[in-house]
């Protein structure tokens, strides 16, 4: 009897470790991006320089859902495949470049000398339990080099989830970021025309 008790004490943790964990689904924000085509020699040197994501987004790997007003929760089983900053930067630069018709530098390091510079701050980007996704952002367009004064814009939009679940959230957020990219491209074009 004593031997049985010792064996049970040794094997019980092993049994616990052997229990399975729920699978994690990872989402790529730019998964539906189609490689663009167009001019490679851009008429203007445009760079997406600084991208700041709200800490509640950058500190979580999971996709964030607003469960109640003022309450958010990062999903455990539904996570981003890459850091959210990197994903948004790639997505936005691709969308802005597509809207402009010529490529955009996704990093300030790629193009230290620039004609137009875009700095973006993502303040809110999450799904909600009432079936929508929201995006609030600010962006600043600066022309004329480091000494130039920038013009700041605000962007806020929301859209309904196309389907239930987190894939719907990712698709809706991509849609909102696409809208943001177009808005930035429009501002860049107007700024270039003014200067």
């Amino acid at each position: 009897m004593r031997e049985v008790a010792i064996a049970a004490a040794l094997f019980l943790p092993l049994l616990a470790c052997s229990s399975s964990t729920p699978p994690v689904t990872r989402y790529l924000l730019r998964g539906d991006l189609v490689p663009g085509s167009g001019r490679v020699d851009a008429p203007a040197r445009v760079v997406l320089a600084r991208l700041v994501v709200a800490p509640y987004l950058s500190g979580a790997e999971g996709i964030v859902i607003e469960t109640a007003p003022g309450q958010v929760q990062a999903a455990n089983q539904h996570q981003w495949a890459e850091p959210i900053e990197a994903g948004i930067r790639s997505f936005l630069s691709a969308e802005i470049g597509a809207a402009l018709g010529y490529p955009l530098s996704a990093s300030y390091l790629d193009r230290p000398a620039w004609d137009q510079r875009v700095d973006v701050s993502i303040d809110r980007l999450h799904g909600t339990m009432d079936g929508t996704a929201v995006l609030e952002a600010r962006y600043r367009i600066t022309s004329g080099g480091d000494s130039g004064e920038g013009v700041e814009f605000r962007f806020a939009s929301s859209t309904a989830l196309p389907r239930e679940g987190y894939s719907g959230v990712v698709e809706a957020e991509a849609s909102l970021l696409r809208e943001l990219g177009r808005a930035i491209a429009g501002s860049l074009a107007r700024d270039a025309g003014r200067t």
Binding site: A16, C17, I65, Q73, P112, G131, A160, G165, Y166, A172
Partner: protein, 531 residues
Amino acid sequence: MSEARADVSRRRRISPIWIVPIVALLLGIWMLIYTLQSQGPEITIVFSTADGIEAGKTKIKLRSVEIGLVESAGLGDDLESVVVTARLDKEATPLLREDTQFWVVRPRIGAAGVSGLDTVLSGAYLQLAPGTGPEGRRDYVGLENPPVTPAGTPGLRITLTSDHGDSLGTGDPILYKGHRIGRVESGEFDLKTQTMTYAAFIEAPFDDLITTSTRFWNASGISFELSANGVEADLASLETLLVGGVAAGQPKGVGAGPPVEDGAVFALYDSYAMVNERPHRYGIEYVVRFSQSVRGLKPGAPVEYRGIPAGQVERVMVSDLLGQGATGQGAPVPVLIRLEPGRLALPDTEAGVEQLRNAVEAGVANGMRASLATGSLITGSLLVALDNHGDPTVVEIGEFAGRPELPTVATGLEGLEIKLASLLDKLNALPLEGTVKEAQQTLAGLDKLLNSRGMQELPTSLDATLRELETTLASFSGDSQLQEQLLPTIAELDRTLASFRRVLDTLDRQPNALVFNRELEADPLPPVGAR
């Protein structure tokens, strides 16, 4: 039978005839007492002469009222004076006071006018001027002339002194802005000080005008001044033109000072121009001795303290220099200067003089020296400048010819000469020869070093080092490869730290999470949106 004897006795009786002399005696005593009680006091007055005085005839008057009679006049014991004995009325006794004055009124003709004409017919009489002092005096010295100012007149008595006999006489007016405020009472020459001293009286309320800053000058006659504007004539009044007089006032730019006491002494200037040349009354005289030429330094030249007028040069003391027996020895030339506290905004009083003296002593102790400075480059006039030259040498105020002496310092060309000589002396004292030799050796060693192989190759080596440094710095620039590699690494590290933080959070919530699976909550399922 008895014989009757008659007892004869002589009865002594006073004869009634004695009543008459007794009554006469009593009457005489009564008359004597009455006479003694009714007559006034007897006084004696001493005059230098009894001209016009007659015993039993000459009267004593006050305000033309007869109050006494001269009883006798005789020579004094010294035979050089006349002693007049007079009897005053009893009612006049209170008039005999300590400062009561007597003089003989007789016809007089003088600069002040004609007086006493009425005595030509009536004869001379003695005038009494009552005083204000205590009563009881019976012996007096008579005045030879009528007093200019009656005793007891309210006002201020002052003394005016002058180096020479001015055309002033007794009774001459003292004018203030043309208005008569007093008069000269007397004047006498002081043999000891060789000066004329005038007693003057300022009547109340004009005595308030006389302060320490008031100056008096001779206003007799007419003064002429020839200037670019032509000839200017100044006349105080017709009276002063005829009989002379004294003017009183303030120097230009000087305000009224504190009031003066009775008996104050003032200098009598020759003119208002001289008053303005020396507007201040009090001053201190110092001697300063210079070893350089004093050509251009004249009496009246300014003495300045850092450009502020502080006094003037009185004279070059050549005679005192010779008196010191310093001829032929290149002795410095003594110059007498006068510093006046009034010029330095100090009170023009004895107290101001003391303040100035203390300030000068303190200044000298702190390095203040006198020097000759050029007043005008065109005329070459000099002035005496007082300034702090930072001389660390402790010097006390000396004495020369009985006057305090201020230390001096050479400035200007001579000062440069002295400094240059001092500099040359120091240069001579330097070990230049040895220094030059050492410098030559050092230069030779430096030349050898510069020509060495290592030094010749130094530029090439330095250039290579700089290139390496440039390359190294370029690797840290913003677009360098190092930067490109470093930034993703930092981002990865940041993500790792974030994951580690989540692990820690999990352990904090569920300590057995390392052994057992986390009790994960099911993710909320977002619904499809309403289109």
